[in-house]
C-alpha cells in the first residue's frame, strides 16, 4: 500500500496532503517502521521471504524477552514483598463493547419505579408464588419429552400439559383461569428442541428464544440427580434495560425463597447476548492444604502439631440439562404474533458490529 501511495504522490496533490496529514497523526513507532525495509516492498520473492522470516524471528525473540522481563519483575516483587506489577487485561470483545446508553445505572429511580410497575413485581415481591405450565409444540418426540422432564425437575412447581391440538392463545386463556404465572413452550423441530417461548401469564411479556447446544442430563459425565429443593438462582451480566427485563422474566419463573439446604444452583449466564443455562449442585468441603509443607514440618518437629491446616473449598457437580438461549424477540402482552406489539425484535440491520450487545 505504502509503495503505491508514494507513486501516486506525484500525480495528485490532494493525496499528498492527505498522506501528510496521516503521517502527522501516526506515532513514532510507525516512523521507525518506515525506516526499515518492509518485506512487502521487495519484489524478489526469495529475498522477501528471507527478510520476512528474519523479521518474524526477531518478533518472536522480542516477545520472549518481554515475557521474561515480566516474569522477572513479578518474581522480584514477590521476593521484596512489594506490590505485584499490574497485570495487563487482555482486550476482549466484551470489554471493548460499544458504548450503550441503555445500560442500567445503580441509582436510577426511574428504573426502580419502572420495575415496581412491571408485570413481575408481584412475583418477585413474593406476593404470588410462581406456578409454571410447560407445554410443547404440536409434534413432540424423542429429545423433546426428555428435555421437558428435565425442565420439570429444574423448575419447582412446574406442570406439564400435553399440547393436543389447542391454540396457544387458548392455552394462555386456560392458564389465566388456573392462576398460572408463566407458560413455557418448548418448540421442537426435527425431533430436536430448537426454541423456547416464555410467556408471563396475566399480561406479562412474551420472550422468544432460540435454543441451541442442548445437552441432556444423561449425556453429561458424572452428572448428579437434582433433589426437589427450591434452587438458588444466579443471573449474570444482564446489564441493559432489555437485559434487566429478560432477567426479571427468568427470575419470575423460579421461587424467590431458595432452600439453601438443597445446595442447588441454577445459573443463567449472559455473555455476548447468549444466555447459558447450567444447573449445579455445590458442596463445601474442608480439605487439608499443602501436604508437602506439613510433611516438611513433620520432619522437623516430629509429629508435634498433628492439626492439619484446613481450607474450605467449593466443588460443583453438574446436574440437569445444559443449553444456550438467544433472544429473538420480546413482545408486549401475551402471545399474539399477528397483533402483538414488540418491545424488541432482533433485526438483521442491528448486526453491523461485533461489539454491540443488547442484553
Amino acid at each position: 500500500m505504502g509503495g503505491k501511495r508514494r507513486k501516486n504522490d506525484d500525480d495528485s496533490d490532494v493525496e499528498e496532503s492527505e498522506t501528510a496529514f496521516s503521517k502527522r497523526k501516526k506515532t513514532v513507532a510507525t516512523e521507525e517502521k518506515k525506516d526499515q525495509l518492509r518485506p512487502s516492498m521487495i519484489k524478489n520473492k526469495e529475498k522477501r521471504s528471507e527478510v520476512h522470516a528474519k523479521l518474524k524471528h526477531q518478533k518472536k525473540l522480542d516477545k520472549r524477552a518481554k515475557a521474561k522481563a515480566r516474569d522477572a519483575a513479578v518474581k522480584k516483587a514477590l521476593e521484596l514483598g512489594e506490590e505485584l506489577p499490574e497485570k495487563k487485561v487482555p482486550r476482549t470483545i466484551e470489554n471493548t463493547r460499544e458504548f450503550d446508553e441503555t445500560v442500567c445505572k445503580p441509582d436510577d429511580e426511574e428504573l426502580f419505579a419502572g420495575n415496581d410497575a412491571d408485570e413481575f413485581s408481584s412475583i418477585l415481591n413474593q406476593q404470588q408464588t410462581p406456578k409454571i405450565l410447560i407445554t410443547t409444540c404440536r409434534f413432540n418426540s424423542s429429545r423433546g419429552p426428555a428435555f421437558i422432564s428435565e425442565l420439570l425437575s429444574v423448575i419447582p412447581n412446574a406442570h406439564y400439559y400435553r399440547r393436543g391440538t389447542y391454540d396457544l392463545k387458548k392455552i394462555v386463556e386456560y392458564a389465566k383461569n388456573k392462576d398460572f404465572t408463566s407458560i413455557i413452550v418448548v418448540h421442537t423441530n426435527r425431533r430436536e428442541p430448537d426454541a423456547l417461548l416464555i410467556i408471563g401469564v396475566p399480561n406479562g411479556p412474551t420472550a422468544h428464544f432460540k435454543l441451541s447446544k442442548l445437552v441432556l442430563r444423561k449425556d453429561i459425565k458424572n452428572h448428579g440427580t437434582p433433589t426437589s429443593h427450591k434452587p438458588e438462582l444466579v443471573l449474570n451480566n444482564f446489564t441493559t434495560r432489555l437485559g434487566s427485563r429478560i432477567g426479571r422474566l427468568i427470575q419470575s419463573i423460579f421461587p424467590q425463597d431458595p432452600e439453601f439446604k438443597g445446595r442447588r444452583v441454577v445459573t443463567f449466564h449472559n455473555q455476548r447476548d447468549f444466555i447459558f443455562f447450567r444447573h449445579h449442585r455445590y458442596i463445601f468441603e474442608k480439605k487439608e492444604v499443602k501436604k508437602a509443607e506439613s510433611k516438611g514440618k513433620k520432619d522437623k518437629d516430629g509429629k508435634s502439631d498433628n492439626v492439619p491446616e484446613q481450607k474450605v473449598i467449593a466443588r460443583l457437580q453438574e446436574c440437569g440439562p445444559r443449553f444456550t438461549l438467544k433472544l429473538i424477540s420480546l413482545q408486549n402482552g401475551t402471545f399474539d404474533t399477528k397483533g402483538g406489539e414488540y418491545e424488541w425484535v432482533h433485526k438483521a440491520e442491528m448486526d453491523t458490529s461485533r461489539r454491540r450487545f443488547f442484553l
Binding site: 496529514f21 471493548t96 460499544e98 445505572k105 426511574e110 410497575a117 418491545e343 424488541w344 442491528m350 461489539r355
Partner: protein
C-alpha cells in the same frame, strides 16, 4: 484499536419536543444550538407512577397561552402549560361520565383551539372518547390546580359505537368533524357541532378465498389541513387504507405494509405523503396518491412505534415507542438525525413548534433555568455523557474540515503559484471566510474563484 461503528447522527435544528411515557412522566427534549445540535432531556415533569400512564395527549400549539391536555390511565385529565409544566387543572371523571372502569380508559383527547379563542381565555373545551365509545365534549374552567374544577356546563355526551373498542380518535384541523374507529368499529365521522353521524365506512369485500378480515382500526389521520373528506387509516391486519367520504364508503386505496399491525400514522404537511409505523418498529413513508412506498426509515429501531409526529415547519418527523427512544428523522433523506434514550416506554410525542431559540438563549444564562435543570438527578448524570458524545462528534467534524482545509491549501498553493500576488491574497481571504461556512458553500466559492 477495535473497529467500532458509531451511529452517525448529525443532530437537529433547534426544536422542542414533549414525550409522554408509561410511567406518566413528561419529558422535554430540546435541541438548543443554532446549528445542528444533539437534543437532550432538559426537564422532567411528574413523578413516576404506573397508574398515571399517559393514554392520550393533545396540545394547542400557539404563541400566546399554549395548552396541553394529558389523559392518564386512572382516568384523570390534566391540563398543563407546555412551557413550564404547571398544572392548570385536573379533571377526574367523577364529574364526567359514570361508567368508568379499568377497561374503559380514555383513548381520544382533543383540545379545541378555535372555540377556545372565541370564549374567554380562562376556559378550554375538551373532546374525550373512551374505549367503550363514550364521547363527550365539555368546557372547563382553568382554575388553580388545588381545586378540582368542574365543567361549567353539562358535558355533551354521546355514544359512538354500541359494541367494540374505540382505538383511534381524531379531530380535523377546522375542528368541525371527529373521526372514531377501533376494534370491531368501522370508521365513523361525526359532526361535532350538532352531534350527528355523517358518514360510516364499509368493510372491504371478502377476498377471493371468501375470507373476511375483521374490522380492527388502530390508527387514523386526516390527510390535508382544509379537507375533512380524505383520511388515512391503518388496520391491525397491516393494511393502510385511504378513504374519501365524497367518493365511496369503501376504501379508495389500500395497501399492505410489512407483517405486523400498523400502530401509528401521520400525515405530511404536503398533503400526499404519510408516515406509517408498525408493531415491530418498521417505519416508512408512502405516497398516498399512488400507494407506492417512498422509502423506509431504517436505524436500528427495534420496538413497536406508538406515535409519529411531523414537525409543523421543519422537515423533521419524530417517532417513539416501546424501544424507549425518541427518534428524529429527516423527512427528505429519511436519515436518522438523532435518537434520545428516555428510559420508559413512550406513548406519545408532541412538537412545540413555537419554541424559539432566542427565548432560551436569553434565559439560559439566568440562574432560574439552570436550577430547574439541575433538580432531577438523572440530568446530572446524563449531561456529561451527552456532552461527551457531542464533543466527539465535533471532533469528527473538525477533523473533516481540517483535512479539507489542508487539501485545499495545497491545491490553492499550486494554483496560485502562477498567479499574481493580489489574487493570492484575495483567495486567502475567501478561504478564511469559507472556513466559517459549511462544506458545500466553501466548495462553491472555490469553484467560483479557482
Amino acid at each position: 484499536m477495535p473497529r467500532t461503528t458509531t451511529l452517525e447522527c448529525s443532530g437537529c435544528p433547534p426544536l422542542r419536543a414533549l414525550t409522554f411515557d408509561s410511567l406518566g412522566l413528561i419529558k422535554v427534549v430540546e435541541a438548543r444550538d443554532k446549528q445542528w445540535a444533539i437534543p437532550q432531556v432538559v426537564e422532567r415533569w411528574g413523578e413516576p407512577e404506573s397508574s398515571k400512564c399517559v393514554m392520550a395527549v393533545s396540545m394547542i400549539d400557539r404563541n400566546s397561552q399554549p395548552l396541553l391536555a394529558v389523559a392518564r390511565k386512572n382516568n384523570e385529565i390534566e391540563v398543563l402549560s407546555p412551557v413550564n409544566g404547571d398544572i392548570q387543572t385536573t379533571i377526574s371523571d367523577a364529574s364526567g361520565l359514570d361508567d368508568r372502569s379499568e377497561e374503559n380508559n380514555i383513548v381520544g383527547l382533543h383540545l379545541f383551539g378555535k372555540q377556545n379563542s372565541e370564549l374567554d381565555s380562562r376556559y378550554c373545551t375538551l373532546l374525550t372518547c373512551t374505549t367503550k365509545g363514550n364521547a363527550s365534549i365539555r368546557s372547563i374552567e382553568l382554575a388553580d390546580p388545588s381545586t378540582r374544577s368542574s365543567c361549567i356546563d353539562s358535558p355533551k355526551t354521546w355514544n359512538v359505537c354500541s359494541s367494540g373498542n374505540i382505538l383511534c380518535c381524531k379531530v380535523d384541523r377546522d375542528e368541525n368533524f371527529a373521526l372514531f374507529g377501533g376494534k370491531g368499529v368501522e370508521i365513523n365521522i361525526w359532526d361535532i357541532n350538532n352531534l350527528t353521524k355523517i358518514w360510516n365506512s364499509k368493510p372491504p369485500p371478502k377476498n377471493n378465498l371468501g375470507i373476511f378480515t375483521p374490522t380492527w382500526f388502530t390508527s387514523a389521520a386526516f390527510l390535508t389541513k382544509d379537507d375533512h373528506r380524505k383520511f388515512v387509516a391503518g388496520t391491525n391486519s397491516h393494511q393502510v387504507r385511504l378513504y374519501d367520504i365524497s367518493a365511496q364508503r369503501r376504501p379508495v386505496l389500500s395497501f399492505d405494509f410489512r407483517e405486523t399491525p400498523i400502530k401509528a400514522l401521520a400525515e405530511d404537511i404536503d398533503g400526499h405523503s404519510v408516515y406509517v409505523g408498525n408493531g415491530s418498529g418498521d417505519m416508512a413513508s408512502f405516497d398516498i396518491r399512488t400507494g407506492k412506498m417512498l422509502g423506509g426509515f431504517s436505524g436500528k429501531c427495534s420496538g413497536s412505534i406508538k406515535s409519529i409526529v411531523r414537525h409543523p415547519e421543519l422537515p423533521i418527523v419524530a417517532s417513539c415507542g416501546l424501544d424507549c427512544y425518541l427518534r428524529l428523522w429527516d423527512t427528505k433523506t429519511r436519515q436518522l438525525l438523532s435518537a434520545v434514550f428516555l428510559k420508559q416506554h413512550i406513548m406519545h410525542v408532541l412538537f412545540d413548534s413555537k419554541f424559539d431559540l432566542k427565548g432560551v438563549d436569553s434565559s439560559l444564562p439566568s440562574k432560574e433555568k439552570t436550577q430547574t435543570e439541575m433538580i432531577p438527578s438523572e440530568e446530572v448524570e446524563e449531561l456529561p455523557l451527552k456532552r461527551k458524545k457531542s464533543s466527539r462528534n465535533k471532533e469528527h467534524t473538525e477533523d473533516g474540515s481540517e483535512r479539507k482545509k489542508k487539501s485545499k491549501h495545497s491545491k490553492e498553493r499550486k494554483k496560485s503559484e502562477g498567479k499574481d500576488e493580489g489574487e493570492k491574497i484575495g483567495s486567502r481571504d475567501e478561504r478564511r471566510k469559507s472556513k466559517l461556512k459549511k462544506k458545500k458553500s466553501s466548495s462553491i466559492s472555490e469553484l467560483l474563484f479557482g
